[in-house]
């Protein structure tokens, strides 16, 4: 068994996950290899789900793997024959952890987090919004990386909000994790991207939970220059709710009330901004400067 820590969870895994930080301690999550016995409905989609409940989720992605995730604790994975290790790892670090988070009632936001002076900014937004580019801009300007694609939010007993460190690797250009879920055509692209655009970020990685300063929701529009707007009241709630990682799980596992309250609590405690950027041109430096000016950092 390999032992790691990521997203605040200690993980024992039969699969080598070299991007994760090694750690000791009692395992929160155990990942083993094994057969998955289930009647997968073939529905023409690359993703088949045959069993979904809060305590047990079983599904597979064609030609990649099937998995069973129980109680956010016990994971069994049956890789498809001939699957590349790197592709399987993306499956584990996105799809499998997606299940684990919701079974454990954790709050994952789809975004990266960068750190300066012991505080972090979460850059959220849809795939293609420009999260990776803006994250790179921050890293090039002395910020450190806390997580690349999934920001797990936690509240301490004094209602301070922290983001959990993930692992020291990030993806450039496209949001692989999101694409991963869509169809087989993009999976080939993923493999190329896997070799080409995965960037080791050990030298800039922060491996401790960090207080959350603000969430930036990034989106593309037909504006000429980047624009930053502070959101008020329920706008904050809606922006955060729309950026929950794999948010459709909330309905699937019937935990609307829990997540409504949790996102509501987050919206009451943090600043949220909407950053719109033009679709053309490299404006990430301007975007960063807008954020720094607004937050006075």
């Amino acid at each position: 068994m390999y032992k790691y820590k990521a997203f605040g969870l200690t993980i024992n895994s039969q699969f080598l996950l070299p991007e994760l930080i090694e750690a000791d301690g009692a395992a929160d999550v155990e990942i083993v290899s094994g057969e998955i016995e289930a009647d997968f409905m073939e529905n023409g989609s690359s993703i088949s789900i045959c069993c979904l409940s809060k305590s047990k989720i079983i599904y597979k992605i064609a030609d990649i793997a099937a998995c069973s995730v129980e109680a956010g604790r016990k994971v069994t994975i049956s890789p498809a024959p001939g699957i590349k290790d790197s592709t399987l790892r993306v499956f584990i670090l996105t799809s499998v952890f997606g299940c684990i988070f919701f079974q454990r009632m954790m709050l994952p936001i789809h975004g990266s987090a960068v750190v300066k002076n012991d505080k972090c900014i979460v850059i959220a937004g849809d795939s293609g919004a420009g999260k990776s580019t803006l994250t790179t801009e921050f890293l090039n300007n002395g910020y450190k990386l806390l997580t690349d694609d999934i920001a797990v939010i936690e509240f301490d007993n004094k209602d301070r909000v922290h983001v959990q460190p993930a692992f020291p690797q990030r993806k450039l250009r496209t949001d692989t994790a999101e694409k991963f879920c869509i169809d087989k055509d993009t999976l080939e692209q993923l493999e190329i991207e896997d070799q080409k655009y995965l960037v080791n970020s050990e030298h800039v990685f922060v491996n401790s939970p960090t207080e959350l300063e603000a969430v930036i929701e990034l989106s593309v529009s037909d504006t000429l220059i980047p624009d930053l707007k502070k959101l008020s009241g329920m706008e904050r709630f809606c922006a955060l709710m729309n950026n929950v990682y794999r948010g459709s799980f909330i309905n699937i596992i019937n935990s609307q009330e829990h997540y409504f309250k949790k996102v509501g609590k987050l919206a009451a405690l943090v600043q949220v901004f909407k950053l719109t950027r033009p679709s053309n041109g490299f404006t990430s430096n301007q975007q960063m400067k807008l954020i720094c000016k607004e937050l006075d950092i």
């Binding site: 008020s232 009241g233 329920m234 904050r236 709630f237 809606c238 709710m241 309905n251 609307q256 009330e257 409504f260 309250k261 509501g264 609590k265 919206a267 009451a268």
Partner: protein
């Protein structure tokens, strides 16, 4: 049984309905249909008032003290708002 809301109707928040408050706005979730709602300004104030059951008469007399609005208009709007809350399953209605 359908009853129109009148000046005498008593309304109160549905119990166990999860809601959040921020910057004077209220967001709520109807667990039965999974829909989110958001209330602002006077609507948020009415939501605050019906934490304990109140008649439309009571609500209107409080609002008349707090807002510049004429009485008839206030009744019309409060009743119409209460109908919406009722139709969306967010309040309990008595009498």
């Amino acid at each position: 049984m359908y009853r129109n809301i009148t000046k005498e109707t008593v309304i109160g928040r549905k119990t166990n309905l999860p809601f959040v408050e921020m910057d004077g706005e209220v967001g709520m979730l109807n667990v039965d249909n999974g829909k989110y709602y958001s209330l602002e300004n006077v609507a948020a104030r009415i939501w605050e008032l019906i934490a304990t059951e109140k008649s439309i008469n009571d609500i209107v007399s409080i609002l008349l003290e707090e807002y510049e609005i004429d009485k008839d208009n206030c009744f019309t709007q409060v009743i119409s708002f209460a109908e919406s809350l009722k139709n969306e399953g967010l309040i309990d209605v008595k009498g």
